[in-house]
Symmetry: C2
Subunit: 372 residues, 2 copies
């Protein structure tokens, strides 16, 4: 619960009436990208950093919307004066992905051709589609070249997509706890999460009443995801076999372990802010992710990228383990790019990229300032 | 798909009208244990081995029930002449746990006091309760002392329970891929599986019509379990990012990845043979598992056990990793027990104990014969 960083911020909207062609061959006839900005764009327009969010993220990376907000944005400890994304130097942008449910066009948005919610008529999208919408936002903001793209997890997928296919629009990149392609186990967890949602009788093929969403399915999907974000050792340390009450089992099927109430609480909070169809679309985009698809190798896919790149992994992350970062590093080295790679030690698992700001701030800040 | 081991076998039933006191303080007014046997009990009655099954197992460890069965029992490759559990030498018994749904008393059984299915009126049970029912079976079979107890995963929990609290009834023990207590991550996966079942609208607080079970919830629970039984590398090798059809994404929310159809198939098959309430009761018993509860240490809990013990773990098992076997080995060493420990190399993850019969047969056979 940081802040004293960027203070009070407001969400903004970029609306495009130019259709957005999608990888599937379909197109979005119009679209909106919700975004926030922190810091000031300089006269040269060359100090912008685009932050890219993960599966459950949104445009609200830092600061508060209202002075009485209980929590700041999701990367607040990383954005602000002297932090990783130093708002004294940089103009920091964070946008919600298309397919999302926090202001950008997604399955909860109105389908202009049918005057009702897209729901499961929303076209299936890819990471490249998300980035193509971001390119239009950057055009609209008048930024010829971003100083950096930066993201963790699925945010890292988007950063790699920028590196591979929009290299001329980016000067440096920072990748946290990410991968150049989705691996089978990560796909499996997403598949099971989608099954939980789609097997919920309230899902109704995606055409649920927004007031009667498939919240049980989304709860189970979120619980699965949540465990993959934490390390085995941190789970053990925090929850062990502890009971909510006392030290003896009550011999009941009802909620009894502290891990049980924790997961239930996380799932309830997630249901308050996330749409089940968005969860389907975004996880599907993740599962398709393979930046090297159609290329002979990852190095070939990244052939246009020769720029300074900071790659960070965490030793307790088993969802996107260090080995997957090393594959990226190897490909970049092969291409002669200037790569800085650190495997950081943290008990926090995959979530370390959201939590370990004390570890990350000096490394990321120095990298971004040095490469100005 | 082995066999030519024990041939055609039949399930048998031990019925007790003596109430079974349970750890919860409740009791089962009467109970049945389904079991199978392979080989011949010798005149001295000292060549019996009790096999203990895991979460989704049953009494049908080996052989075929009918000549045209498509698959033999779940440990068929380990039971038979010259195999781990050598039926030329040993009388091998396998019983279905109470709480199960394959012949032993469980939530699908008739509650004699109410003349209807127990359903969620079935009392919550523990690993110790399962073993206490097995002790009565062994009494009934006239076996004063088992030559061995042997089990993997939850079967290992039961074996450890025999070691700790019925040491005088057992001469040796073989533990595969198991733990002396449930750790937080393993509990979490079980919690989420139970949530999937209990949030299924067809669960009806456990009082579902057997013809209208919460099959979607049980499917999701099974899918979660299944991924925890496989290693990351074997999943990657078998499924990668492959599609069922072609090499290009079809951009659909429908089933598309091979891992997706595999999990769907596994879940469907599991629904054909397993009861959702049993899944709740058995996983809850697993989550409570801590043989050292009430003792000052694991070594103290195992203080009565000084006998030859074979402990086996697998290097790719992340559900019950080698570290958890080592904790058992350390406690047994501390007590001066004769322990043989091997971490075996296998890509098969936790399921290795069910699959790696070529690795296991010589080790287990030699241990059991040597310690006759």
């Amino acid at each position: 619960m940081t802040t004293q960083g960027v203070g009070i911020v407001a969400i903004q909207y970029f609306h495009s009436t130019t259709p957005l062609p999608l990888a599937s061959g379909e197109c979005l006839p119009e679209f909106t990208v919700a975004y926030e900005t922190y810091g000031i764009l300089n006269a040269a327009g060359d100090n912008a950093i685009l932050l890219l969010h993960a599966l459950s993220g949104d445009a609200h990376a830092a600061g508060l919307h209202h002075p009485d907000d209980r929590k700041p944005g999701w990367w607040d400890a990383m954005v602000g004066p002297g932090r990783s994304f130093d708002t004294d130097r940089f103009f920091v942008i964070c946008s919600n992905v298309i397919g999302g449910c926090a202001g950008s066009t997604g399955p909860t948005s109105r389908n202009p051709q049918r005057q009702q919610r897209w729901a499961s008529d929303f076209p299936v999208i890819t990471i490249a589609d998300m980035v193509n919408a971001q390119v239009q936002l950057i055009d609209y903001l008048g930024i010829a070249q971003l100083h950096a793209v930066a993201g963790g997890s699925m945010g890292g997928f988007q950063a790699i997509e920028w590196m591979a296919h929009h290299a001329e629009r980016v000067a440096t990149a920072v990748l946290f706890a990410t991968s150049a392609s989705s691996q089978a186990q990560a796909i499996a967890w997403n598949v099971i999460g989608r099954q939980a949602i789609m097997r919920d009788t309230k899902w109704l093929n995606g055409c649920y009443d927004p007031n009667e969403p498939p919240s049980d399915g989304l709860a189970v999907a979120r619980m699965i995801g949540h465990i993959t974000y934490l390390s085995e050792q941190s789970l053990q340390h925090r929850f062990d076999q502890r009971y909510k009450q006392g030290s003896e089992p009550r011999h009941t099927l009802a909620e009894e372990f502290t891990i049980e109430s924790y997961l239930g609480h996380q799932a309830m909070r997630f249901n308050e802010r996330f749409d089940a169809n968005s969860y389907l679309y975004i996880t599907k985009a993740m599962d398709y992710w393979d930046v090297a698809a159609g290329y002979s190798s990852l190095a070939q896919a990244l052939a246009c990228w020769q720029k300074p790149t900071l790659v960070l992994s965490f030793d307790s992350d088993w969802l996107y383990p260090t080995a997957e970062s090393q594959i990226i590093v190897t490909a970049l080295h092969h291409n002669g790019a200037e790569v800085t790679f650190h495997e950081l030690s943290s008990p926090a698992g995959h979530d370390a990229f959201l939590i370990e700001s004390d570890l990350l701030n000096p490394i990321v800040n120095r990298f971004l300032v040095k490469n100005r």
